[in-house]
Symmetry: C3
């Protein structure tokens, strides 16, 4: 199975070490502690009457850790559903996330404004870097099982860069609100990844078809990922919203949206699945769409009622997407979307962007009071202008994602990254030393011979 | 295996969608942001001199997320110990928890007092809804493997309602303290579930006996649930206690109680189990009893010393319950308690209620200082009165739980919910599309043929 | 397999119950709530103008829970990589951690100063007890699979005691800084455990060789441990640092160190492993070395740049250690280090101590401002003196760990603890009732007979 084409002894180390050395050099030249992590500056603030509690660390660190769990456990284990791709799912997720969060710190620092030629870092830059990483992992879901870790690192380099550019345009130029990233994270990551998958289309992928499915325990491992994503999504959407009611309200709106989404998912899954049974693919994925779909409007006065309607719709379109749209995407559009990111992040992300635009447009001083101002880019213009800003942002995001994915796809198509052949996709063995491959049956399962069992019970 | 009786293509979607639509309508009519999640109201408080840090979100959100993990990962994975019921354990846990937390918000809102005809929601209502959900999941443990998801949803509707009524009587009418829910959550959930299991008694359940046990990996998955419940129990018991020393002390008392309970569990397990070996059932369950047993007294001045004694006792009675009482419950009282919730939640819950009553009765101004007042319902009466309030609350809880479980059991016995036949209990395949059912051996295990192994290592 | 020598029916209960009774008595005699957990004392502080937010609970509880997860899930599951030792890995980890945190509270209380003859407990003592427990679990990793739970409890009694003594000398007498425990936790735990493993050397351990390896799913369970340790290490290193910029900076430095370490680990693993493939042993362990290596300097002004260099180095030496040093340790020095703690905790711990000494020596008022003072033991002496304090602390730690491990090894060698014979190491069955041992193949795997599959799909 291993041959010179997929052997990474040189390629992977070179990619990892060159990238890390570049990052370290750039950090050395450009990155500084911000006012709240620098000993001298913070103690100056303390001397001026600040309390240690004013340090943003205490407002955001618990949310950061929840987001961190979503990135590394949530995304990583969600993708372990494939029967023989668990090492790669968790392991490549780990690798590209560890890379992307460093690269994102630099790219986001560049475009969001340097301070005297330096990038300032603290808890908020850490959360934003994790967010950008999430977008890359969504794209990873679309190409799961069909790419080498070197390809994934190259994809991360480009995607993180374009993510930062798009985020800058959406948040800073257009002045849209998108705290939970319905547009900047989910829509961007999904359509970028789908376009990459389109360019990397493998007409003979059915040769690996028998491995592109789950087994009993792999589905249970995947549920670890699903449940963590579901539980911590309120922290994700509220991690960088304003202090006080904003963080509080965003977390609560997300909580209600997800709960309603889950009921819709179970209901719809039993309708469309074979024989009235539930389909794990729907439960693992569609139940999360409610978190995606309130990623923009969650910080607004969407109300629990509104959040639940959005969540219910998101779960519904997601299940229907898995059932009816995914086969079309594959057969007609030639997009082989391994994890169905179009159903979990793509459509719900677009829904979330639209809900956000409408909710922003409907905002009034009567409902928001003094809380209206932080919502509006321009305090002179009415809220409907904010709605238009939001809508344009969706279009820009889709454009950059699709174009970026197209170019990236062609770059990843170069035959130099050790990508797996069509016959050995969805298979850990190509990039990982697997345990017990030469072992006997006994070592590989929990079965014992009667003799052994007897001895054990003697 | 699937026949019209257990086919849920109509029943489950109807249940899920009708319930969710009812919830959404009620939320639309009745639920409002509270002062700390409403943009206008909170900005008014800020204008009046409040700091964002006064928002209860920062006092309680980390605890909420820990509780959330206990509900969805803790309870969900604890029940995956069954060899072929992992999808249902995690999946039905997910479904009924997502439903129950919405329904609980409404029911608890109704009985605990509306504000101008509206239910106000914020972080505290989210925690309380999760607590109520926990009670339903305890009952789920008693009937695990023998019920359809439609039955479970119907059970949740009734149980959540009665939980809210009982909680109102205990906390608001009787004025008992029960922050960690020894009575309202654990005693209530356990005896409610046991009574349901009694009414649903299946004399021919031994036909599914070979599936009512664990395999090696299912026990490891269950340990994920156990350890998360164990670690986060300090957050559970302290999540809604008063700010300051109360939250701090409650978390610490629970931490010590659980540690002592664990030592007792290991010691007793080796005594009573076969051949001096440890029994996973004890470790997975009894080690948690210490958290249950300080659910009432944990916020009081129980001292670490007292907490450890309570934890030690709880672990002891729990292991002994599994060994000696569970078989009697099944054979004599015809209660088939799949997870042994009587040993983990029932007896330790009653113990916790008694410890709480005694600790409250012994409270003095000398020990509590100004911290005594929040403990007492009536500041004029002596602490011994508080002890009596606590004792009466236990009796009321037991009464409502048993009576409610009885009625619920008969409702669930109606042959309309698609319950599994006696021969196919404890089996995911009846409600879930299982992976690889038609696959070859090779796909289902990690075993490879020599040919394949050779190719891989070539 | 079970015979009188390894039967623990008397030994384990006696150990657990006697130890717990001793602990409870000592807690009763010596342990008191501190000012922030005592109702009377805290309400007095409130009356004097404190806010509830000043309670240290709110500064440290989220970090505590992250550390708690590392101890019980992180260490526990990291060690489940062995194919038939998952129950023991998680279960014994659970037992000795629950014991050690109680014993540590007492031992650390004794040496770190009593208050009027009493040990005061609160959130900080809870974190410190968990830290001490971590050290014991590191040593557990060195002897994993070759020891009985009674041996492990005895080891914990001694190791916790010596840990407290060493910690007192390093932090209080020598005045070193070591917030994340590069020296006191990692170096101490690793070299203590390695010395114990040396004394307990088993020349015939190759008789159990076929069990001293992983299988596919056991490696996935181990990744749960790895990822949790990786994600929460920023909380570990910052849990007891000073409020404000210190906690903030420490968490961020650790985050960057780990990210860089991960890239180095993947790169190096592909270089040294068989055939250019990645080795799970490296990913599971070496990727964590970056957290260990900034355990001392993390709270200093190490800069993100410095943190990344340290992390990169740590990952590199750790992978190389697994590849080249571990075989030498085993063959030449007769140290059978099951988990390779020398590569994950030993060498990176020493590296961390050295980095800490250098960083402390280079501290200047110009960089730290008023933040310099908390760093220095003696405000009159220059920072270079602090560097010397740090260096001496490393030497003292190594001395106490090696000597303590030596003595402990000989105590554990007494043939009274029910240790497993050489032929049945790395095997759960010796101490645990295993499920399905007498079952058929069908019960133990997910395989179905064609008949069954047909019925299921009927």
């Amino acid at each position: 199975m291993t041959n010179s084409a997929t052997n990474l002894r040189l390629k992977l180390p070179m990619a990892c070490i060159i990238l890390e050395v570049i990052i370290i050099i750039l950090f050395g030249a450009l990155v500084q502690y911000d006012d709240e992590t620098d000993a001298k500056l913070w103690h100056k603030e303390i001397a001026n009457g600040s309390s240690n509690y004013d340090n943003d660390f205490y407002y955001r660190y618990p949310s950061f850790q929840d987001v961190h769990v979503m990135i590394f456990i949530g995304f990583g284990f969600l993708m372990t559903f494939l029967q023989r791709y668990g090492f790669s799912s968790v392991g490549f997720n780990f690798l590209i996330a560890a890379f992307a969060l460093q690269w994102a710190t630099l790219m986001q620092g560049f475009v969001h404004g340097m301070h005297g030629g330096k990038i300032h870092v603290g808890i908020e830059s850490m959360i934003n870097a994790d967010f950008c990483t999430g977008s890359v992992l969504i794209s990873f879901g679309a190409v799961l099982g069909k790419t080498s870790p070197v390809q994934l690192l190259v994809m991360s380099v480009i995607e993180v860069t374009l993510f930062a550019v798009n985020e800058f345009i959406v948040l800073s130029v257009l002045g849209a609100k998108d705290a939970g990233g319905s547009m900047t994270i989910h829509t961007f990551g999904a359509y970028f990844g789908l376009m990459v998958a389109r360019v990397l289309y493998r007409p003979n992928l059915d040769k690996s078809k028998h491995k592109n499915c789950s087994v009993y325990h792999s589905d249970l491992f995947a549920m670890i990922g699903t449940i963590y994503l579901w539980m911590f999504w309120p922290s994700f959407n509220s991690a960088v919203t304003a202090h006080g009611d904003d963080q509080h309200r965003t977390a609560m709106n997300t909580y209600y949206s997800l709960a309603a989404c889950t009921l819709a998912t179970y209901g719809l899954s039993a309708v469309v699945a074979h024989d009235g049974k539930l389909d794990m693919v729907h439960i693992q994925n569609a139940a999360l769409a409610g978190g995606v779909a309130v990623g923009t409007a969650g910080e607004m006065m969407l109300t629990p009622f509104g959040s639940m309607i959005v969540g219910f719709l998101a779960g519904t379109i997601s299940v229907l997407g898995f059932k009816f749209l995914s086969p079309i995407l594959e057969q007609k559009l030639k997009i082989q979307d391994t994890c169905g990111v179009h159903n979990l992040h793509g459509m719900p992300g677009v829904l979330g962007a639209i809900v956000g635009a409408v909710t922003a447009a409907l905002a009034t001083k009567d409902v928001y009071g003094d809380g209206l101002l932080p919502l509006l880019r321009n305090r002179q213009t009415p809220a409907s202008f904010q709605g238009i800003r939001q809508a344009i942002s969706l279009a820009v995001t889709l454009g950059i994602a699709l174009l970026g994915g197209l170019i990236t796809g062609f770059i990843l198509k170069l035959p130099i990254y050790g990508a797996p052949p069509d016959t050995i996709c969805f298979e850990d063995g190509i990039y990982w030393e697997l345990p017990g491959e030469e072992g006997s049956h006994e070592e590989l399962t929990t079965v014992r011979t009667p003799d052994e069992a007897e001895k054990l019970n003697a």
